[in-house]
């Protein structure tokens, strides 16, 4: 099943082309990205039900112009040719000249060279995102919550959420005419449990470049979320130290994305903010480590035809057998670095600037089985799920707060749980300690990724189970 491009964007193309044509008389590069993203979020908990538009819903445009030195942009949400042209001139001419007159220098950029391209893309999904209508979706979510309260006395609250986002985008310039429509969905559950004294919560999301079928996964797995939360009530504090441990695919993805991935966003190379710049062609991980990022690498929430600057998505081999090959890059950073863009120029919305952002980032699987990996550990942990992670591209410090660790002693899980677990250390030390990878790849696109503390965008990340050594606290 597929959705077709929004009628609004189809209709908007004609006046937008006219604006591009008109502004091209004065500016040597003009492009417009148009977005008409729809989406709904359904949320049911023990005490409340909510239906609202999802946070990514938007309709608007961003105009990019070459101002003689670099690029200026104007975001707008209503097509009024006269107003837009006047505003474009204000931002790309009058403001630039005014700032120059006040002594502000501008970084000089070459002109974007484009090839003629006309393409469209529409993602496939099995079940329409609203196939059962609001009544059916609310009923299914209510059934999940109801069934859990019948079974689990320690459950204080369970929030079940289903959210769909249908992205519609167009990109128009003098040489490009691109269209895309893709649907991604998320179904997640948050369990809050209590033993009468303390509270614990657990969260698990199921995601995909898919339709309503994602909700099936929550329906199949909702009990696991509650059981996992109940386990946390008996969790002990970990004895801080250096351990051998196994990361589950969510934690592997967090390491790929947060610990290493942000450091190879090449706009950071332009600003000299990334240590990775000095490591291209050098060892950063163990021999068995292969890491990729790309809109074309896998099918997940960030699998698109073109990015928010009109560049086609790629499949970038970042680490090959432990050697850092390259990073990924947006259009303007690519111009500064003299390389080709990789289709990683993404915006939080049409209202925001494009930065180099990750798409689908992951470690490739290996050949081991999880059982063999556990057997190989004398004293350590199986780490599952995460609460947060923070990047440090300049100094490669790691801070990942993980949901829990299952103790392993003499090759066996003991049943003891520790939580929360904070993973800290130095990124290459951690990646060079990767010694085993399981033979399966699992991706997840729950939540959003920030650049620093802002610019939230949808990404997916993942990997196999990985055996690693590092500092846990």
């Amino acid at each position: 099943m597929k959705e077709s491009l929004s009628k609004y964007l189809k209709k908007a193309k004609k006046p937008l082309r006219k604006i591009v044509e008109e502004l091209s008389k004065e500016f040597s590069y003009v492009s417009i990205l148009g977005s008409d993203t729809r989406g709904r979020a359904y949320q049911v908990s023990k005490t409340t039900t909510d239906i609202r538009d999802s946070g990514q819903v938007e309709r608007g445009f961003v105009l990019r112009l070459y101002n003689g030195y670099g690029y200026s942009e104007y975001s707008f949400d209503k097509i009024d040719e006269e107003v837009i042209i006047a505003k474009a001139k204000e931002i790309a001419k009058a403001d630039v000249e005014y700032l120059k007159s006040k002594g502000l220098d501008f970084i000089e950029y070459p002109l974007i060279e484009e090839e003629e391209i006309e393409e469209s893309f529409s993602s496939e999904f099995k079940v329409h995102m609203e196939a059962s209508g609001p009544e059916g979706i609310v009923k299914r979510l209510k059934n999940i919550v109801k069934s859990l309260f019948k079974e689990y006395k320690k459950l204080v609250d369970f929030t079940a959420v289903y959210e769909w986002t249908l992205v519609n985008k167009i990109f128009i310039s003098n040489k490009k005419d691109l269209e895309q429509t893709y649907l991604f969905t998320t179904a997640f559950g948050i369990a809050v449990v209590s033993d009468g004294e303390k509270y614990m919560s657990e969260y698990q999301a199921y995601t995909g470049l898919a339709g309503l079928e994602t909700l099936d996964k929550l329906e199949k797995n909702h009990e696991k979320i509650v059981k996992s939360a109940i386990e946390l009530l008996d969790a002990k504090k970990i004895k801080p130290g250096v351990y051998d441990f196994i990361t589950d695919p969510d934690v592997s993805g967090l390491i790929a994305h947060e610990a290493f991935g942000h450091g190879v966003e090449m706009d950071m190379f332009v600003k000299n903010r990334a240590k990775a710049k000095e490591y291209i062609g050098k060892r950063v991980a163990s021999d068995c480590t292969i890491m990729r990022d790309g809109a074309k690498s896998v099918k997940e929430a960030s699998s698109y035809l073109f990015d928010d600057e009109g560049n086609l998505g790629c499949d970038t081999l970042v680490i090959e057998n432990g050697i850092l090959k390259t990073g990924y890059v947006d259009q303007l950073s690519a111009l500064q670095l003299g390389i080709e863009p990789t289709g990683n120029g993404k915006r939080e919305s049409f209202e925001r600037k494009a930065y180099t952002r990750m798409t689908n980032t992951f470690f490739e699987p290996g050949e081991a089985s999880l059982e063999d990996m556990i057997k190989s550990i004398d004293e350590g942990y199986l780490l599952e799920g995460y609460q947060s992670g923070m990047e440090d591209p300049k100094n490669w410090g790691i801070q990942c707060v993980l949901a829990k660790g299952r103790e392993i002693k003499k090759g066996k899980l003991t049943g003891k749980i520790v939580a929360p677990v904070v993973l800290t250390g130095y990124v290459p030390d951690l990646l060079e300690s990767i010694s085993m990878l399981s033979n399966d790849l699992q991706m997840n696109s729950a939540g959003g990724c920030g650049k620093g503390y802002k610019e939230w965008s949808k990404v997916s990340m993942g990997g196999p189970y990985m055996k690693v050594r590092g500092r846990l606290g």
Binding site: I51, S75, K353, M390, V422, K454
Partner: protein, 427 residues
């Protein structure tokens, strides 16, 4: 547009009530690498959030949709019709909408009001890039000036509008005085161009970058006094505002009940915390929340006792509590201990976490240490790396608030908090 929407809503069957939040935003944004402009951006957008309510028996159903000015009548009609249909399947206990307030209000003053956005960008850029005389520099920065107008309309007669001004800066300071180049990240928002505040902030971040370059690794310690400072203190208190949230009490996820003394047996300072509708330089200062509830100050904790809950009209109504609306400015009463007194014994003063976390449900908090000052009883060193985590319910038994206060956007209170005998991980 609003009139068009109201007309459409009035003609729809099944609409019991409605609420419209209309936000117009005009922005200019300047992005710099070193001290050169990398990009200049502008923005003019308008969002219209419509919540339709459909009541059935004792229940209130609702559904919220986002409309744009570019939508034609047919599209608006279809979206609203679908919203009404969806609202029928939401069966929450009834709660009222905000009533028209007869209280007078005015737009808060900001120097951004009459300043051209491009001039405002320049003025802030000049503050960021002035010579602070430190061994550190600005790697890059982003400056955003947002001028907003909010209008809230509902079917109970509320129709209010007010302006908000917002400056946002992201600044990366860096230094290469040490073995390796280092950086410090900061993201701050403010409602006014307060030069003193901005200069103190940038100067502090440059100082921290210079110090981080010279810092040695944090040593592990099983028992040391930790001093929290700056913006991390604002983050620390989110646990207490979270525990006083009407929603958490309604959903039974709060650890305490109203009237409980959270600090029973505590040997440290007792908490006195209020929410302030208006706080100087805060982007959250507003006469009304997004429901149209008129905002007034509210005291949440008095001498450690949870006196009042806070929250939206819906959840305060469910609990039969006085409606406070959503207020995000926090004021905490300072203590009697001076920072000098806090520093008499060995301590670790956290100057910057990489990302401090606070779990509002459990009270767990901590983070990786980007920069700290360590006093071993004799000498003081700057240190980096390592981490600490603890639980607020434990540390509150003995914590002390500084006598010195700070006013940072959306927080007024102690400049430092002393946490006694905390375990720190390090080398």
């Amino acid at each position: 547009m609003i009139d068009k929407i109201i007309k459409e809503l009035k003609g729809l069957k099944g609409v019991s009530a409605y609420k419209i939040l209309n936000t117009k935003t005009s922005s200019k944004e300047l992005f710099l690498i070193k001290d050169k402009a990398d990009m200049l951006r502008g923005k003019d957008v308008e969002d219209i959030l419509v919540t339709v309510y459909s009541d059935n028996e004792k229940n209130r159903g609702s559904s919220t949709v986002k409309l744009k000015k570019s939508m034609d009548n047919d599209e608006i009609a279809k979206i609203l019709k679908d919203a009404v249909y969806a609202a029928k399947f939401v069966k929450n206990p009834y709660y009222p909408l905000a009533k028209k307030s007869d209280k007078e209000y005015e737009n808060f003053n900001s120097s951004l009001k009459d300043m051209n956005e491009t001039d405002a960008l320049l003025r802030i850029k000049d503050i960021i890039y002035k010579d602070y005389g430190l061994d550190a520099s600005i790697n890059s920065s982003e400056i955003f000036i947002n001028k907003k107008n909010k209008r809230i309309v509902n079917s109970e007669g509320v129709d209010v509008s007010f302006d908000q001004y917002e400056g946002i800066i992201e600044v990366i300071t860096e230094s290469d005085v040490g073995k390796e180049p280092v950086e410090i990240y900061t993201l701050n928002s403010f409602a006014d161009i307060d030069e003193e505040y901005l200069e103190e902030l940038i100067g502090r971040r440059l100082f921290e970058a210079a110090e981080r370059g010279k810092a040695s690794p944090t040593k592990k310690s099983d028992k040391i006094n930790v001093i929290l400072t700056g913006e991390d203190i604002r983050t620390f208190f989110t646990f207490y505002t979270g525990q006083a949230s009407a929603r958490a009490h309604y959903e039974k996820t709060a650890l305490y009940k109203k009237g409980d003394n959270l600090f029973k047996g505590s040997k440290g300072d007792k908490l006195n915390l209020s929410l302030k509708a208006f706080m100087e330089n805060s982007i959250y200062s507003a006469p009304f929340d997004n429901d149209g509830v008129y905002l007034e100050d509210v005291k949440l904790y008095k001498d450690g006792k949870l006196k009042n809950l806070h929250g939206s009209l819906r959840f305060t109504h469910y609990l039969d509590e006085e409606t406070t609306g959503i207020i995000k400015n926090v004021e905490v009463q300072s203590g009697e201990t001076t920072i000098e007194e806090m520093k008499k014994k060995p301590y670790l003063e956290i100057l910057a976490f990489s990302d401090m976390f606070v779990d509002e449900l459990t009270g767990d908090f901590g983070g990786e240490i980007r920069l700290a000052r360590y006093f071993d009883g004799k000498d003081t060193f700057t240190v980096t790396g390592g981490s600490f985590s603890d639980n607020i319910l434990e540390v509150q038994k003995k914590f002390l608030f500084s006598k010195e206060t700070q006013l940072i956007p959306s927080f007024k209170g102690p400049k430092a908090i002393l946490l006694k005998n905390v375990k720190v991980l390090g080398e």
